[in-house]
């Protein structure tokens, strides 16, 4: 083993030279888990959020109403449990609980995706419900009026708009996930934090190693938020159009001059 350089930057480069690949692999794992889990979390969140949004209408048959109440109750419990406990505890609880109680030995990867997805889903559910509630009722009525069933109105009109409304929240969740996957180190997932800690332990270079981890985490979160902003802009569509010049019907209001003229006739 060659000896460590004595200055901070020297040590950072020394570590990077030897273990650069471990950091990159760790960062890749972090990114993969957070991206895929955010995606699945959104799908779960949309499912749960849409169910919570559905009104329990009087005219539904009794068994449908009963089923909806039951589903809402169960989903409420799911949301409360996963929002109300730390993800670090959840991951150990699920990982070890599954093998001990049910004899299921989750692969570490599956456990990681599962835990982060289900956690994101719990947070997203309330966000989606809020996103749906914020849409003007006129959108639903417009959809029904052109012949859409309530389900189609949901698919074509409400969900796309809810998705746009909650994009900032989805971005927020992605960033939280990039950071919070570090708790998966407790079940042995070799993500960025686990990798950094291992390298740190080899040479007792905690400060240097964590400095590298900080830079990598920050790079990932900043890039993620910038990309999401671009996507949002794209969803909004272009904002400049050739206005009015070809709009022959605008400002042809003949009515304003007509009304007073008729007024006199009526009076006598």
């Amino acid at each position: 083993m060659t000896s460590l350089p004595s200055d901070f930057l020297g040590r950072v480069f020394f570590i990077l030279q030897r273990y650069g690949m471990s950091y990159l692999r760790g960062a890749g794992t972090t990114l993969l888990i957070s991206l895929i889990s955010t995606l699945f979390g959104c799908i779960i969140g949309f499912g749960v959020g849409v169910v919570q949004y559905l009104p329990i209408e009087e005219r539904l048959p009794w068994w449908k109403r009963w089923l909806l109440v039951l589903a809402k109750g169960l989903l409420k419990i799911y949301v409360e449990v996963f929002r109300g406990t730390p993800m670090m505890v959840q991951s150990m609880f699920i990982y070890y609980g599954a093998s001990q109680l049910m004899g299921i030995n989750m692969s570490m990867w599956f456990a990681a995706f599962f835990i982060v997805s289900i956690n994101t889903g719990a947070y997203m559910a309330e966000t989606v419900r809020g996103g749906l509630l914020s849409i003007d009722n006129g959108q639903t009525e417009g959809a029904l009026a052109v012949g859409m069933s309530p389900i189609r109105a949901m698919n074509y009109v409400l969900i796309p708009q809810a998705l746009r409304n909650i994009m900032p929240q989805i971005g927020n969740n992605l960033i939280i996930n990039i950071k919070d996957t570090c708790v998966l180190s407790v079940i042995g997932t070799v993500e960025l934090f686990f990798a950094s800690k291992s390298v740190a332990g080899t040479y007792y270079t905690y400060f240097e190693s964590m400095a590298i981890a900080m830079v990598l985490y920050l790079t990932m979160t900043i890039v993620a938020s910038k990309l999401l902003r671009l996507w949002e802009k794209k969803m909004d569509g272009p904002s400049s159009y050739d206005l009015a010049t070809t709009d022959t019907l605008a400002f042809t209001s003949g009515l304003l001059t007509m009304a007073p003229a008729k007024k006199k006739e009526r009076r006598d």
Partner: protein
């Protein structure tokens, strides 16, 4: 000839508040019926009942002789035959102008895409909005939104068009462009029911006027009769207030 729409003994309560009581009227092919009356007289509720956006408390609505309140009726299919234009436009904010006019023909009525596009362009041309097909609704003025909403309603090729105060949310200088479009549709012989506060327009464009007061049809007849020789005191008072405004 059998009327397209026949409404009999229609009643609508919101809780203990009775909005419509015992409404009877029918709409024949080619009719342009304007419903006038003070705010809160139940005009909009009546229109929304026809389209089943509100479910009537009692009474019947028949479309070509068939009750649409029957539980076996396919409500979305019925609504596709009765186009509706709203006071607040209700264009789909997530779609551009062309998509707004194509979504229902393509996804619901299963019209081939190319044909649906041609059809949408034809109606957008009629309302003078072809140069805005890529614009999202939020970039349009109120009058433009309402014209697109009319094109969207036309694109499903309904048998009856319902207008729920189509110009009430517009700035005065935009009212004309929308009324011009509706006037053109009337000249084409389209069957329409229009709830409006534009009396001059109602008089010029309709062949029948219905005056509503406190949830009942107070007076009904040809525009000349209602506007020139109203019989009921409520009608006289309402029109007097209007012309003196």
């Amino acid at each position: 000839m059998e009327p397209i729409l026949q409404i009999t003994h229609l009643k609508k309560d919101f809780g203990s508040h009775q909005v419509l009581s015992d409404i009877d009227f029918s709409v024949n092919q080619g009719d342009v019926v304007s419903i006038i009356g003070a705010s809160g007289s139940g005009k909009s509720t009546l229109l929304r009942c026809i389209n089943l956006l509100e479910s009537p408390t009692s009474g019947d609505i028949r479309f070509h002789g068939e009750s649409v309140l029957d539980s076996s009726i396919d409500v979305p299919a019925y609504r596709a035959k009765v186009g509706m234009v709203f006071q607040s436009f209700n264009l789909f904010d997530n779609m551009n102008v062309l998509e707004n006019c194509m979504i229902s023909p393509v996804k619901i009525l299963k019209v081939p895409k190319a044909e649906a596009r041609d059809r949408a362009m034809m109606y957008l041309d009629k309302v003078g909005m072809t140069s805005f097909i890529n614009a999202k609704p939020r970039y349009l003025s109120g009058g433009q939104k309402q014209r697109v909403a009319i094109a969207r309603a036309l694109a499903i090729q309904p048998e009856v068009l319902l207008f729920d105060e189509p110009t009430s949310a517009l700035d005065p200088q935009m009212v004309g462009e929308v009324l011009d479009v509706i006037g053109d549709l009337a000249k084409e012989g389209r069957t329409m029911v229009i709830v409006t506060h534009e009396m001059t327009f109602a008089r010029d464009v309709s062949n029948r006027i219905i005056f509503m007061d406190e949830g009942v049809i107070c007076e009904e007849g040809a525009p000349e009769k209602i506007f020139n020789q109203p019989v009921k005191d409520a009608t006289k008072a309402f029109l007097q207030r209007f012309w003196n405004r």
